[in-house]
């Protein structure tokens, strides 16, 4: 089968190469070819690392790591719908939930990929670049972090905004300083606040349309001064209302294990985000001025998008800090700011998105300081050495 595919690409290649009929679509062809096969070109000068894992393979691993969360998210969409209106179930409960959620997620995924990839391909053709593979993950992430009732046209605008303003204006994949998926969510959050927060967006009322059944997420309940109605176990499993695929801690941990074993995401960032959030939670516990501050610190991991952000968003290799020390600082501050925003600012029940975007902006500065400090320290050592040797 692989030989057939190889032959197919080889047959088509001249048409898309320089001088061929469809040369202007060259980068599109190139994208599909390298999607199927590892490119056979190698660097001619300088030293380089030989490794089977190129950018496309890394991206696919992230998508695979996201699949447990995606599947659970689908099931949870159906489950939440079932709790709100149990009379509609007409077949096996589990499959009903999964099927309902699948049908709700499919249009969101399709819109995100169609809009995003169209823009990516268009930019690649205009600029005569190769098509970048970054959108594989971004397009998968965007539908996972919005409420299930988000209207498709709003999702399309947000995706277009994220790809053009968040990424392409800076030069495409690898050049962006903000996480594009979070840019899309931030755009939705500030543009259409009534569709992104509040009590009437989290549970789909029916299979089609954007109507919702009123329900509050644990974070919204806490921001309103109540106690969360869901138990810690529910939140751990993920059977609570929330953005489509962020609710289940178990599913996210499965993804995290894959990312850590394959070495694609940085364990330093994951660990330090969790540490930062925990430290801030403990500090609030110690202050204990109101009910939200007295909430056990580990609740912050269970609620909302904290873990999802820590595992899949903060670890984005492009927008995170690059130096090892920088990663610790970057991750700690994300955790600290996320919990701080949640507890202190009731206007933003979920602080994870804003804190990751904020630290994305500061990541280059952190790196710069770390590198500058390193240079200074080594210079000092070198000067001392040369003085000693002079004696």
């Amino acid at each position: 089968m692989f030989n057939n595919l190889r032959g197919f690409f080889d047959k088509l290649k001249p048409t898309f190469s320089e001088g061929g009929k469809l040369a202007w679509l060259g980068s599109t062809f190139e994208a599909f070819e390298t999607f199927a096969f590892t490119p056979n070109r190698v660097t001619k000068q300088g030293c380089h690392v030989r490794d089977a894992v190129d950018l496309k393979r890394a991206m696919i691993t992230v998508v695979i790591a996201l699949i447990p969360a995606m599947l659970f998210g689908m099931w949870n969409i159906g489950y939440q719908h079932y709790i709100a209106s149990p009379e509609t179930v007409n077949c096996h409960f589990f499959w009903y939930c999964l099927w309902f959620g699948f049908l709700r997620m499919l249009p969101l995924l399709a819109v995100s990929y169609i809009v995003g990839l169209t823009i990516e391909f268009a930019f690649a053709q205009i600029r005569h670049h190769q098509v970048n593979e970054g959108f594989l993950v971004t397009g998968f992430l965007i539908p996972m972090i919005v409420p299930v009732t988000t209207p498709l046209w709003q999702l399309a605008i947000a995706t277009a905004f994220a790809v053009i303003i968040g990424k392409e204006v800076f030069g495409g994949t690898g050049m962006n300083f903000l996480n594009p998926a979070l840019v899309a969510r931030a755009f939705l959050f500030f543009s259409y606040p009534t569709r992104m927060s509040g009590d009437s967006v989290w549970i789909a009322a029916d299979l089609w349309g954007t109507d919702a059944i009123t329900s509050a997420t644990p974070l919204a309940e806490l921001a309103a001064g109540l106690q969360p109605s869901a138990s810690a176990l529910d939140m751990f499993i993920g059977t609570i209302p929330g953005s489509t695929c962020e609710t289940s801690v178990i599913a996210i941990l499965l993804g995290a294990i894959l990312l850590l074993i394959s070495g694609i995401a940085s364990w330093r960032i994951m660990l330090s985000v969790i540490l930062g959030g925990g430290l801030m939670g403990l500090l609030f516990n110690a202050i204990g001025a109101n009910a939200y501050m007295q909430l056990p610190f580990y609740y912050h991991y269970l609620m909302g998008g904290f873990l999802f952000g820590a595992v899949f968003m903060a670890t984005d290799p492009v927008t995170a800090a690059q130096t090892n020390v920088g990663k610790w600082i970057y991750g700690l501050l994300i955790g600290i700011f996320a919990v701080m925003l949640r507890v202190i600012n009731p206007a933003y029940p979920e602080g994870m998105m804003l804190s990751i975007l904020l630290m994305n902006c500061f990541a280059p500065l952190i790196d710069h300081c770390v590198v500058a400090h390193n240079i200074k320290r080594r210079q000092k050592r070198a000067i001392v050495k040369s003085k000693n040797s002079a004696r």
């Binding site: 204006v169 500030f190 543009s191 259409y192 606040p193 569709r195 954007t210």
Partner: protein
């Protein structure tokens, strides 16, 4: 004297906002609605044109060591005149613009044109240059305000433009358009389009 060049070039090729990147602050502040943007654009155009004219007339008599102070006096006088005029004849717009009319005095475009052009050119040329630059500024202001009001409020000059049936079908105004960050992004997009067009020529 090339009248066309003085008037047309600042609209595209040497636009004070998109090419020289001056006067961005007021672009963010007054462009949430079209009407204040139009009034602001007109005010700045009047001030740049007449301050250019006056400074150009005085240019041989101004000692160069105190020229900035003289320029400031002239600009401030014109700005106060405009402010009083707006308060008398367009009170509601003047309230919307609030401090930004007074802040025209700190608009970099005006001082920039005085220093770069009026001090070394004749009065008529200077007047046209001020007019052109003011219009270039107004043009960007109006473009940004047009999109922000249309997409952010669904209106233009206060009139409902997007039909109400759209809203019933699920359309929503874009709240981000009302916030200043979006003004910055739209100016960026205008710059992008403008620069890529002028570069290719």
């Amino acid at each position: 004297m090339n009248v066309k060049k003085l008037l047309i070039e600042p609209l595209r090729k040497t636009n004070p906002v998109t090419v020289l990147v001056l006067g961005i602050c007021s672009c963010l502040a007054v462009t949430a609605k079209l009407k204040p943007a139009l009034v602001m654009g007109a005010s700045v155009t009047v001030v740049t044109a007449f301050s250019n004219l006056i400074i150009s007339l005085l240019r041989k008599g101004i000692p160069s060591r105190i020229r900035i102070i003289v320029q400031l006096v002239v600009v401030a006088t014109l700005v106060i005149l405009i402010d009083q005029f707006l308060k008398a004849f367009a009170y509601d717009v003047s309230k919307q613009l609030s401090v930004y009319v007074g802040l025209i005095i700190t608009n970099c475009i005006i001082m920039g044109r005085l220093e770069a052009f009026a001090l070394s050119h004749g009065p008529i040329e200077s007047f046209l240059d001020g007019l052109g630059n003011g219009l270039g500024y107004s043009l960007v202001l109006v473009i940004v305000a047009f999109f922000r009001e249309l997409l952010g409020s669904g209106t233009l000059l206060g009139y409902q433009v997007i039909p109400l049936s759209f809203y019933e079908a699920g359309y929503q105004n874009n709240g981000l358009m009302i916030l200043p960050p979006m003004a910055l992004i739209i100016i960026g997009i205008v710059m992008w389009i403008n620069n890529s067009k002028t570069e290719s020529k």
